[in-house]
Symmetry: C5
Subunit: 293 residues, 5 copies
């Protein structure tokens, strides 16, 4: 993740960071420009279309559909951002639960119970590590795909590591209770944190393995494509070669919106905009060590 | 459910998957094209309407209503997507609760209590299976319909299977408590998971048996229909035969939005975009087996 | 409530169900058509307004306000739908709580405790029945009105029946605890369900007795009215007698949106789109009987 | 609060209730009309601007900004309505918690424990009364203002009354537990309700003392003002004296949206649209008396 | 934070508070005006572009993209406001939890237990103080940045102070339990409040260290910039020197929306619109002192 000062307009506008959509989109924008040049050339030079040709009125269609495409892109943007932010919230609540579990155990375990303390000092941060690895595993992304995946080894038979870590934690907590190191009321106090681990894991898996419905994804891309492709046809007569920068700019805008949405709708990858899971896991380890010291 | 790589624009634009709206809509689009051709022919060739005919100004109406139709379709899209995503969340929480219940029971039951372990190993995944069957049953969809359904056998008298499974689970848990295999505090620890099953079931039933209000559904369809049907009347004079592809494209856009919304507003069916309940139930079984092994 | 197959476009478009807004609105639409005819007649035949009259530019205003009216209607639609859906959720959670309470009690009470079982078998579904009657009572709708209502007998003195039923349930549960039929831990397990009844009742009352703020309701209606009334004045010169169907269609669209919102913002009435509370209460009774059999 | 029948369109359109924005706005609308008349007079009679003057194209700007102003007003409307509805929800949950606390205590206290019963009969409704007074106190509204308020007596030193009432309730409940009138499990059953009082109080205070950020409020008002003030300049040439009613109508629409939002964003005042806190407090008293009778 | 009376339109429109965007934006607006003047001069005087030049049709592009830019800015506004409001909610819940913890402890601790009372009287408000300092620390903002920060001393090694305070509170509470000053049931009653402190801290950290994705921030700024820069090119021929105020006004509107969003998306700074954390911490201290007196 990149942290930035949002008020430095100048650097935002004139520097081209590698996470900038303008970089990735530039080939497509060049292509659209060439195509626009072609469209203008054909209509004006080759066909000598008169100024009152029907073609001139095509932009009416783009006007009518302008609402639709904007609202669809905002729907897309909102859905993607909500997924990204929910992912961040889930990891935030992983941080909270790890800290609270450590704080509670620290106050319940006797100060010299080195063995139990070091167990939790190791296991609590381990969950965050394993969850990160689990989420970045291709198997997790495809867990609900209908197609078979013989190419991925152990697709159906490998163990679910976060489950295993949560199991170890829960076993230990119940063991402390059976050994009367913690009372029944203290056991209940630990319940929320102990069960939160798997709730968080399930929430992240949901975001990871369930993209927005396939039909929307296809439709939005087809819509943008046809919208852009028909733009120069209508603009050629009213704008001449100005059509080229205009279409390039509109392509940049629509393309960027879709591209950013694609990137952030799965917040558990390794893109620049994705969540810094490794750093968060490190923070959890640092905090838990500090607390259970 | 189809899992896909959202960045492969090329295949999205030029391949026509069977879940693509363009397939289902193509007859309607062809019809609209023929109708548009007819409208243009009548206005231009048959009636010889002059270029300054009032008919030319009809698109003003489409402009004014363009906002309304776009916003209505976005409302529709949002409502449908929220239902779909809520359905996914409910099944996600079924996964979480099944795992947590298994993890907790595993840590509470003694390691050699084969009988109780195998009971839960069987019953917990069974709930997911039965819930899936229950949701795909036509009876469940029509549970709140005002009309009688004599054609569906046992419509009012059949037992509610998920209730029965939840009952067995709850009975067993209270039995463990009465037999002092688990303490009162451990019983309370299991409470959340034990009651979650029926909450999830009720949530899914709500989505299944309560579509968006009938009046909206009717109104949106009527609105789209009249909007599209009047389009070629206004475009004929300003666009000539270009009216045909333009109207076809607008029909494709509005039709697709409504069609996708229809498909995903009930996420518990068997469409390509519906939730992969069978696969999720299998995953629950796999997880629970692993944990209670 | 009407359950329907959303994919049958044909019947949606060409059949006029009695819940269809086109029926209720038809007198208003006829009126608007007559008025439009009058406006066109006066402007064109009586006043012989020239084609470049200022009147021709009035639609600019409708264009500018078109955004505002659309967004306001979407705000209205969203607010109404949210209330309707929240009402459905509350009743859904009544179903869930009734089932869970029955399942829990079934597992706690001894199998031959006929007396207590039949008490809950009767009282749990009774709450749903009484809640329905309470919500359909005019007293409940006007509970927070500032004006006095001497015309409604017992407006301020009648007892609150759902409270009474919830009280009986809570008393019984605490009695079971005092008689040591259930333990303290089991008492705590029942706490969520026992207190949910009144939370649900309060939530429904809130929706019932608090419509959207009066000022919005007045403003939206006044805005729609003036918007529609000024439409034909501007269209008469550019569309001639085509103004009549155009204004009729726009009236249909704006009127329908407001009308449907009105209908669903109170989901506890007896309209076709309202929640099928009676049927839900019957389902609760059936489920509870099955469980506590 | 005013309760109304939303289907009486006629009275909504032609009657002018004192809560109607048209009343409060009428001076501003008259002013705008005079100003518009002046603008038209100057441009047409005084300056004799030709018909193709650049001034004629100013409305292009209003078109471009029309989206922005509409969306901003909808953002404003949504934010204000959410605050109002959250306030209603908080008071709704106060009703629920008061009822549930009374129902629970009624079932736990012995039937002849007149002293404790009358304590809660008095204290529970007292919280609602005191909360209302607290929220209507100017001190509460300005609690977080950075400016000092020497003009308000006891601004920083007065006691927080709702806190005191909640304290008395909590003390009594713990006393009942210490005197073994209720068991530890029953104490836990009362925990949710007992702590809800201060959560609700804090939620209401948040809405009361934190208006939407100052910058937005200033910006929206400045934007509306400049938007309206430049309107007649552009319309004078294309609409002549029709500019006057057109600008008056647009002023009415934009002004009303902002005005209603202002009124409902603080739902705890004494406006017609504000929440009927007194009536709700009375209902709580009536309910609690009925239950703890 | 500035508290204000939203109904004083006059002062809103004609006074320029230092938190007013018009102040900060004025240099940019002046620059845009100069640039616009230059554009008009070049097109009209220098190049003598004819009135039917293609350049005249550039505003079509601004019309098509007008939807997109408005919706994007509303998305931005909503996201920023949600973060600000969530921050306010978190601090509101800090107030509630501090009060509730104090009220509960007051009712559990014996009246003459001066030592424990003064411990909590000091520690509970301390958490709010430390949380404020923690959030205003540059280290906290950059906690998840991928870049190293050798310039900030102790970036990775400093202790997490709010954790330490929460630890002291939790330790004390468990000590009271071990010393049998509070019972197990009372311990459970304190659980919610005790764990809320770290949940709130984590929530605030999330808002602080995770700005909206970098790509959006870059894209929105680039989009606004190009949109504004191309405006005068298109307006020069249709509006002449009127282009200057028109472009200045549009720049003011778009710039303000982005600027306010920037300011409130991090509610834990020291801007005029930021949350008054110091004042809230003081209120917590005052309340806790009053309660535990």
């Amino acid at each position: 993740m990149i942290n930035y000062n949002p008020r430095k307009w100048f650097s935002f506008i004139f520097r081209f960071h590698k996470a900038d959509t303008i970089r990735t989109l530039s080939p497509a924008i060049v292509l659209m420009s060439l195509y626009s040049w072609g469209a203008v050339y054909v209509e004006r030079v080759f066909l000598h279309l008169p100024d009152n040709s029907f073609v001139k009125n095509i932009p009416t269609m783009h006007g009518l559909l302008g609402f639709a495409i904007s609202m669809l892109l905002v729907f897309r943007t909102n859905a993607a951002y909500d997924r990204w932010w929910e992912g961040r919230k889930l990891w935030g609540s992983l941080v909270n639960n790890s800290r609270n579990l450590a704080v509670k155990l620290n106050s319940m375990l006797s100060a010299d119970d080195e063995k139990d303390r070091s167990f939790f000092k190791k296991l609590i941060p381990l969950f965050a590590d394993e969850l990160r690895l689990h989420l970045q595993n291709e198997r997790t992304r495809l867990a609900l795909d209908t197609a078979p995946h013989p190419d991925i080894p152990g697709f159906d038979t490998s163990k679910h590591i976060p489950n295993q870590v949560a199991m170890l934690l829960m076993n230990k907590i119940n063991l402390l209770y059976r050994d009367q190191k913690i009372s029944g009321h203290q056991l209940l106090m630990l319940n929320n944190e102990a069960q939160a681990f798997l709730d968080i894991c399930g929430g992240c898996e949901r975001i990871k393995n369930t993209p927005i419905p396939y039909s929307y994804s296809v439709f939005i891309k087809k819509f943008i494509f046809f919208y852009l492709v028909t733009l120069p046809l209508g603009f050629a007569l009213t704008m001449g070669y100005l059509t080229i920068p205009v279409v390039a700019f509109i392509s940049y805008v629509l393309g960027s919106l879709e591209m950013i949405a694609e990137e952030i709708e799965d917040p558990f990858g390794k893109d620049d905009n994705d969540l810094p899971m490794q750093r968060m896991a490190e923070n959890i380890r640092k905090n838990v060590y500090e607390i259970l010291a």
